[in-house]
């Protein structure tokens, strides 16, 4: 999918860009070619037109010259009839193109008898010359164009072409020259000498013109009448203006007007009867007759070469574009194929198969680098996951070990606190709140005998499982060593000795232990580096208990300990705690401290050991208010006698 998308986009973009560039260049080139072709055409047709005009005029000149010469001759003096006859014969014979020569006179200008005088020498069908005299009522030549126009205009003129029907519809034209006579200083018109020529040769010249392959030429008269044209139906019957009228072509009319005015130039003809398809026409004037020669070239032919070339170039271009699009698709494929396989592999990896091999790319390009990055990422991912798995496993293992440790710790602690009702002469309650990381606190109590209760609170130096285990050892040792009648200091001393043996880890434990005589209320106690407890007398206030000095258990084998004694009255309590209480930290990094503890105890209204313990515990927890507990918090409260019981022991 992606491959098609990319390839398609590439093809579209590159192709359209290239096509645009190609088209721009091509059209510019084509336009320039057209222009250059036109320039060439103009030059060529102009030359052709001029040379053709020249060729035609040369022939016409051959007709004009004798006429003009003889006109001059005729002007020089009176002529005899014979002279006139000789002249006409002479001219007619001199030039094979000349069909006939006529010398005609004004009324009575030749001689006083002749109203009409027209001597005509002409060529017969077999080529021989013949002569005749013309002029009668039925042939009143004075008003005819060939006579009157040069007379009125006072200059030599070429007639409009006409058909000579008698000779088999040959197209003819007549060149007339007026001649005069000087009479008393004034020039007087005498008559006309005129020469007829057939225009067949002219038709031949023009139709023989090689105008490219499909071009043609035509000649129009002063009136715009077609003298010669490939479409013979136009000849004589039509003028260029009637053709324009027929096709409603105003531009052609204007061109025709310019032609008969003697204009010259290259113009474009849209499709009209003159040339059907779009064509270019070069027209040039024939100044002697006032006619105009036009050369027409269909645009198709003019441009056929460059059009063909253009088509070929376009084809090549298209082919090239096609080839290019194929190439682009191939290249796009080459790019996206590794991308695709990379994508597949990545999907596989994402699913969790980190061992999926990435496609091997050996190219040094971006794709190769991408693959290499992916590969290293895969490896890193794998390692990370492995690490994570191991760490998680380790953590879980540790967590589970912690759980085990905690359960060991808890299992060693007495959980049952004998209710008052059972014994009636003491109340004991303890609570241990373990830290996140097992702290190694311990508490213990047991009845040595009916009258003596042993209790101890301890804090192992370390944290974690070793602490828990050590704590278990300490507790077990103490319990094992403590006997009825043994002094607390001795208990500590013996426990210390045992602990110091095989204590490579240098772990130690602080312990406060005491033995309460349930009959007398005498409390004998000893301390090994532990925080001094609080004595709460029922009616005499609360105070710190003065503890004897003693090194922590497990530090030095030779450590000595001291026992001290105080008297408890019924209702008096002793509160023992570990430094988890005093060193509990609030979020503001404040320590709970002994001061607060003492205050809390003093202000407590709880009378039972349990209540007091829990109250202190709550107070500490509240103080910490969410800050992580770094150490075990242990509180033990022992009440001598019943709090509400008689003040004297029974």
């Amino acid at each position: 999918m992606k491959n098609r998308g990319l390839a398609f986009k590439l093809v579209a973009l590159i192709l359209s860009g290239t096509a645009a560039v190609f088209l721009t260049a091509f059209s510019y080139y084509y336009r320039c070619s057209e222009k250059s072709v036109m320039a060439n055409v103009e030059k060529n047709t102009r030359n052709l037109a001029h040379s053709t005009v020249h060729e035609i005029e040369t022939v016409l000149m051959g007709v004009e010259k004798p006429a003009r010469n003889f006109a001059t001759l005729l002007s020089m003096g009176r002529q005899e009839t014979d002279d006139v006859a000789r002249y006409t014969e002479c001219i007619s014979s001199s030039n094979p193109e000349i069909f006939g020569t006529a010398i005609s006179f004004e009324p009575y200008a030749m001689d006083r008898q002749s109203y009409y005088f027209l001597d005509y020498c002409y060529r017969e069908a077999d080529g021989r010359l013949a002569r005749t005299r013309l002029g009668s009522d039925s042939y009143d030549y004075f008003t005819l164009d060939w006579y009157q126009i040069p007379k009125v205009l006072d200059r030599a003129t070429w007639s409009e072409p006409y058909f000579d029907e008698g000779g088999g519809n040959i197209m003819m034209a007549t060149f007339s020259v007026p001649f005069y006579r000087e009479m008393d200083g004034t020039r007087e018109f005498q008559g006309i000498i005129c020469v007829d020529i057939s225009l067949l040769w002219l038709k031949n010249i023009v139709s023989a013109l090689k105008v490219y392959q499909t071009g043609h030429a035509f000649l129009i008269s002063r009136n715009g009448t077609f003298i010669t044209h490939p479409y013979s139906s136009l000849i004589m019957g039509h003028t260029v203006f009637s053709v324009a009228e027929g096709s409603g072509d105003d531009s052609l009319r204007r061109i025709g007007q310019d032609m008969i005015r003697g204009g010259e130039g290259l113009v474009a003809l849209e499709g009209n009867p003159l040339s059907r398809a779009r064509a270019w026409m070069y027209y040039a004037p024939m100044s002697s007759t006032g006619w105009s020669l036009a050369i027409v070239i269909p645009e198709d032919e003019l441009y056929s070469d460059i059009r063909r070339l253009g088509r070929q170039v376009i084809l090549i271009g298209l082919g090239g574009l096609l080839l290019m699009s194929v190439l682009i698709v191939v290249i796009a494929n080459r790019i996206t194929k590794p991308l695709r396989s990379l994508a597949c592999s990545t999907v596989d990896i994402a699913r969790g198969n980190l061992d999926t091999e990435l496609p091997g790319i050996r190219t040094g390009d971006e794709i190769g680098r991408l693959t290499a990055s992916f590969a290293s990422m895969r490896v890193a991912l794998k390692e990370y996951i492995t690490n994570l798995t191991e760490t998680t496993a380790a953590k879980e293992k540790y967590e589970s070990e912690l759980k085990i440790a905690r359960s060991i710790q808890m299992s060693f602690l007495p959980k049952r606190f004998p209710p008052i009702a059972e014994k009636g002469n003491f109340e004991i309650f303890a609570r241990l709140e373990p830290a996140r990381e097992i702290g190694g606190d311990l508490y213990d109590f047991s009845l040595l005998d009916d009258d003596h209760i042993f209790f101890a609170v301890g804090d192992v130096s370390d944290k974690g499982i070793p602490a828990a285990l050590f704590m278990a050892v300490v507790k077990t040792l103490m319990k094992g060593i403590a006997e009825a009648g043994m002094e607390p200091s001795e208990i500590l001393k013996k426990t210390n000795v045992e602990l110091c043996r095989d204590n490579d880890s240098m772990m130690f434990v602080t312990v406060f232990c005491g033995v309460l005589d349930l009959k007398t209320g005498s409390l004998r106690y000893s301390n090994a580096g532990h925080d001094p407890p609080i004595i709460i007398r029922r009616d005499r206030g609360t105070e710190w208990l003065a503890v004897p000095d003693g090194l922590v258990l497990g530090a030095m084998e030779e450590s000595d300990y001291e026992t001290k004694e105080i008297e408890l009255r019924p209702g008096d309590k002793i509160l023992v705690y570990t430094d988890g209480v005093t060193e509990a930290m609030s979020p503001g990094k404040e320590l709970y401290s002994e001061v607060r503890l003492m205050e809390a105890v003093k202000s407590s209204s709880s009378d039972s050991a349990e209540k007091l313990t829990l109250e202190i515990m709550d107070a500490v927890v509240e103080f910490a208010s969410g800050a992580p507990q770094s150490d075990d918090i242990t509180v033990l409260a022992l009440t001598f006698g019943s709090p509400k019981g008689p003040l004297v022991a029974q």
């Binding site: 804090d459 192992v460 130096s461 370390d462 944290k463 240098m506 772990m507 130690f508 602080t510 301390n527 090994a528 580096g529 532990h530 925080d531 001094p532 503890v547 000095d549 003693g550 090194l551 922590v552 530090a555 030095m556 450590s559 430094d579 060193e583 150490d631």
Partner: protein, 110 residues
């Protein structure tokens, strides 16, 4: 916790600042071990900057002391802050170790 150690006369003085707890205690042991590698056997631990010490810290000190003892070395502590002084007292370390008021005294005495 910041630990600095330098040689003064024949003593390796270890200056401890900050708080010594279970996390930073090993650093103390390492610093002492370095001094021991250099062959020093007389240690003076300057606790002027020590704000707090936990049982783990005490343990570390005990371990170092025990090691020095087995090598016929000596260790003394000086310039204890009130908090640390109290902990030392209660734990009994005060009586176990030689503790001096100031560094000068410690250097003079051992």
């Amino acid at each position: 916790m910041e630990i600095e150690r330098y040689k003064q006369d024949r003593f390796c003085v270890i200056q401890v600042k900050g708080r010594m707890d279970a996390v930073s205690a090993p650093e103390f042991e390492t610093a002492c071990a370095k001094c021991m590698e250099q062959g020093d056997t007389a240690f003076v631990v300057d606790l002027a900057g020590l704000e707090y010490i936990s049982s783990a810290g005490l343990r570390a000190m005990l371990v170092v002391a025990k090691k020095l003892k087995s090598n016929n070395g000596s260790i003394s502590f000086c310039s204890l802050t009130p908090t640390v002084e109290r902990v030392f007292s209660i734990s009994g370390f005060r009586s176990m170790f030689s503790v001096h008021d100031s560094l000068t005294k410690a250097l003079a005495n051992s």
